[in-house]
Amino acid sequence: MPDTPILEVRDLKMHFPVNEGILLRTNKFNKAVDGISLSIQAGETLGLVGESGCGKSTLGRCITRLYQPTSGSIFFEGQDITRLKGNALLPFRQNIQMIFQDPMESLNARHTVGDILEEPFIVQKIGDRISRKKRVQELLEIVGLPARSTSRYPFEFSGGQRQRIGIARSIALNPKLVICDEPVSALDVSIQSQILNLLIDLQKEFNLSYLFIAHDLAVVKHISDRIAIMYLGKVAESAAGETIYHHPKHPYTRSLISAIPIPDPHRKIKRQVISGDVPSPIDPPSGCSFHPRCPHVTDRCKHEPPQLRFIDDKHLVSCHFDL
């Protein structure tokens, strides 16, 4: 694709200082995101999968500039936004929005739904009161909530409805890119599918690009065009969703797929259970960070960190071997 991607991230690092001892000196860093490169095209969904602590949410927050990354760069439609500050950032805030995991925590409990949805327009100084109210009504209709919701408070809604409010807020300013950080993991199964359908419909209608962050590979595969698997702050593998599922190359991807419980009692395949826990990103293992849990580990893996390499034109793997 020759077009400029909506979002391009190059070698992004986010190292949080860890303060220890009585003097709270910084001797160590939590390398939550440690050299990530990725890009998203217009209208595309990139799924980002990994276990807790792999840095997927941190990456999302760096892209929305909620965190100031340690190094690397973020390009939005070709323009470097990594170091923008204050008012210069405002137009990008309009174009990059975020949906959070827990709508109860991300919606102000003391504001009515009308206030919550009107606020983006006030911040960006768009329209007058009457046109803003009209737009709020439209937004409610788009996400399938009754028009009378404007005067009600977040606690009066169920979890699924609250997530709809969060989604309405994120699309209020017609953004081009929405970072969805675990948008359905707090929801019940029957509500989860309603929200996934809504997100897919909105993408078609408004040509949105999504960075869809989740730990559930089945959910991510359903909504994504491409998937990147993260492990300890790095990308382990990335490819089209179907490729990741049918031809996974990284041993971590394979064990993730194998660990997913399948709702079919006839499938009694012995699972390939990997042992051990995810190591701490403060003190990651030497060489390949997956080597202490990898069933194919060799001496080389313990010393030499693998580089992400292309195994065909769209499939990237960070492993020394062709497994």
């Binding site: 599918s193 419980p261 079919d264 499938r267």
Partner: protein, 323 residues
């Protein structure tokens, strides 16, 4: 005779807005050595069922108001508290969702493990400590003698859940109740824990009641399944009956709405419209009537009785034959 036989169990809670019935006349039984799954969405009463069996309902709000829980022939709902204390942790073990809140943060792992052993057996301290180390080893904790002296915060999430399982199993109970034991864990750790429960079950010949919202976990680990909705049992049977021939519209809806690795990406997921009714305004007839695509006049008037689809496969629906 089944190991556990629950008949018409009904549990109510006193709340600020009056009395609500969280579990309404449910009946099911678990045989020795069998794994029974209880599946349902938040608020369906699955955890309250577990707490009712254990007589651990929050006091004084929660009360068992009817029915019986026969465990090895004794009705647990009628036992004096002093007798019940001998059952808990000794004959029935329990594993909770959040291992960090199930463990006491100011006591060492060893103390918490040995406590149950000392309470329920005629053990000396040395013997209890030795047994504790053995069981820690058994649940797959490396260097168990060192871990005995550590505190819960020093362990990872997966290790903590292993400790909680070790405590639940220390006295070799005949029944283990696991309430969402893997929900707070990552998929690769979930696979380890489910595998561990399965192994220990075979080894010790105990029965397991596994409570979860994840149909995949049910399909992979259970023989029998109970599907709950709004405090009532919608359907129960063997996993093969329920997954191959789901007879309640709710079970069907649930199974159809999960995104699977094999579904076409971005295809429309089937949904169950609406949401679970609140316990304060339950429909007069079938609880699922307001979301059910097959509902008729009769469904709004009275509660559908339990009907037998096949041996041990029961459904609570007027229209299961027509759908």
């Amino acid at each position: 005779m089944p190991l556990l036989e629950i008949s018409n169990l009904t549990t109510e809670f006193d709340t600020d807005e009056g009395r609500v019935r969280a579990v309404d006349q449910i009946s099911f039984s678990a045989n020795a050595g069998e794994t029974l799954g209880i599946v349902g969405e938040s608020g369906c009463g699955k955890s309250v069922t577990a707490l009712s069996i254990m007589r651990l309902l929050p006091q004084p709000m929660g009360q068992i108001v009817g029915g019986s829980v026969l465990f090895q022939g004794r009705d647990l709902t009628k036992l004096p508290l002093s007798e019940m204390e001998k059952v808990r942790g000794n004959e029935i073990g329990m594993v909770f969702q959040e291992p960090m809140s199930a463990l006491n943060p100011v006591h060492t792992i060893g103390k918490q493990l040995a406590e149950g052993l000392l309470l329920h057996n005629d053990y000396g301290v040395q013997k209890a400590l030795k047994e504790s180390i053995d069981i820690l080893d058994r649940v797959g904790i490396a260097s168990p003698d060192v871990r005995m002296g550590e505190y819960p915060h020093q362990l990872s999430g997966g290790m903590r859940q292993r400790v909680v399982i070790a405590i639940a199993l220390a006295c070799k109970p005949a029944l283990l109740i696991a309430d969402e034991p893997t929900t707070a864990l990552d998929v690769t750790i979930q696979a380890q824990i489910l595998e561990l429960i399965k192994e220990l079950q075979t080894e010790m010949g105990m029965s397991v009641i596994l409570i979860t919202h994840d149909l995949g976990v049910i399909a992979e680990t259970c023989e029998q399944v109970v599907v709950m909705y709004a405090g009532k049992i919608a359907e129960k049977g063997s996993v093969f009956d329920v997954f191959d021939n789901p007879s309640h519209p709710y079970t069907r809806g649930l199974l159809a709405s999960i995104p699977r690795l094999t579904t076409q990406p971005k295809s429309k997921l089937s949904v169950i419209d609406g949401m679970v009714p609140g316990l304060r305004d339950l429909p007069a007839g079938c609880r699922f009537e307001n979301r059910c695509p097959y509902a008729r006049q009769a469904c709004t008037k009275s509660v559908p009785p339990i009907q037998i689809v096949e041996k041990r496969h029961e459904v609570s629906c007027f229209r299961w034959r027509d759908i």
